[in-house]
Subunit: 187 residues, 2 copies
């Protein structure tokens, strides 16, 4: 009996270990292959912030023009740790891209920009075998939307991520800590 | 014996629970009251990014000028959860302010900026009774510096944070998720 109890305890501890992704940090699909809206991602690892990133050439560079929108990209902590250890993204990795207008109306800052409240819509990039040729799928969520169908694999985002992203369809070239990890691995 | 084992197991689980801050996420002081360099903070909760925030009026707004440095502020996950639950920052809370030059030389972006590799120096703001009148202390770490003495409590950062920061010496006015939590609590 004592061994049984110790066994249960070991399993309980194991389930809490770094190898078991928390259920609220894994992609959930319904019978129609729609992705369930992820939540709580502002507590995930923020791998890259940027402002005004765009695939279109700049048209407006007037003096005093703002820097454009803040983008913040989040990855589940367990998937980040897997990337740190292996240099690869595990099955079930989810990147969330959140958008914020840039504002500058709060004391005591006299210049510079910070993010306004988040834009209600956000995008998700999920690694899950069979979703597309690359093994990744894109999903967009609007305000209050609980399920989203995959963006068709013919959309430009797939071909651009496949050809331009530095690591397995992920734009690690924009993410400082991931760049440093990859550089260390190359040595 | 069985109860003893179950007891040990319960304690083990409890120690892993959300109430016990991980040892590598708590401030450590040496006998000279110097703070040990925190590490791994890029995996903490990133509460606020900004670009070019400065207390000085803008002098240079030439067309094509960059947005200034990226600032990213991190808080330990356990302290973030405490704030979410209570609206207050717990003893031992540590904010890390990391700096990055802004760059724009990576395909496929045709405009916009993202962070370069982190500047070697960073700053830490620690909540710990007795450090100063406000209960907080500032510390600065240079490259490779393993211990830092507190910035004297007469420095301008203390009086500015005391008078201008929205929540207990913390600039929550710049941090989207914290702003949303505070708004929700005010209702």
């Amino acid at each position: 009996m004592r061994f049984f109890v110790i066994g249960t305890c070991a399993v309980a501890l194991l389930l809490q270990g770094p190898q078991a992704p928390p259920p609220d940090q894994t992609p959930v699909f319904n019978a129609q292959n729609q992705l369930k809206r992820p939540s709580g991602y502002e507590e995930w690892v923020m791998v890259g912030a940027s402002t005004g990133l765009s695939y279109n050439p700049q048209i407006n560079a007037q003096p005093g023009a703002g820097p454009g929108m803040f983008h913040q990209v989040y990855l589940q902590p367990w998937a980040y740790r897997h990337f740190k250890q292996t240099g690869q993204f595990p099955e079930g990795a989810m990147f969330v891209l959140a958008f914020y207008e840039s504002v500058r109306d709060a004391a005591p800052a006299k210049q510079g920009y910070y993010p306004a409240d988040p834009i209600a819509s956000f995008e998700v990039h999920v690694k899950h075998k069979g979703l597309s040729e690359s093994g990744w799928g894109f999903y967009g969520f609007d305000e209050g939307q609980e399920q989203a169908g995959m963006v068709p694999a013919t959309a430009a985002c797939y071909s651009c991520h496949a050809s331009e992203a530095k690591t397995d369809n992920v734009f690690t070239q924009f993410y400082p800590a991931m760049r440093a990890l990859l550089k260390r691995n190359e040595r």
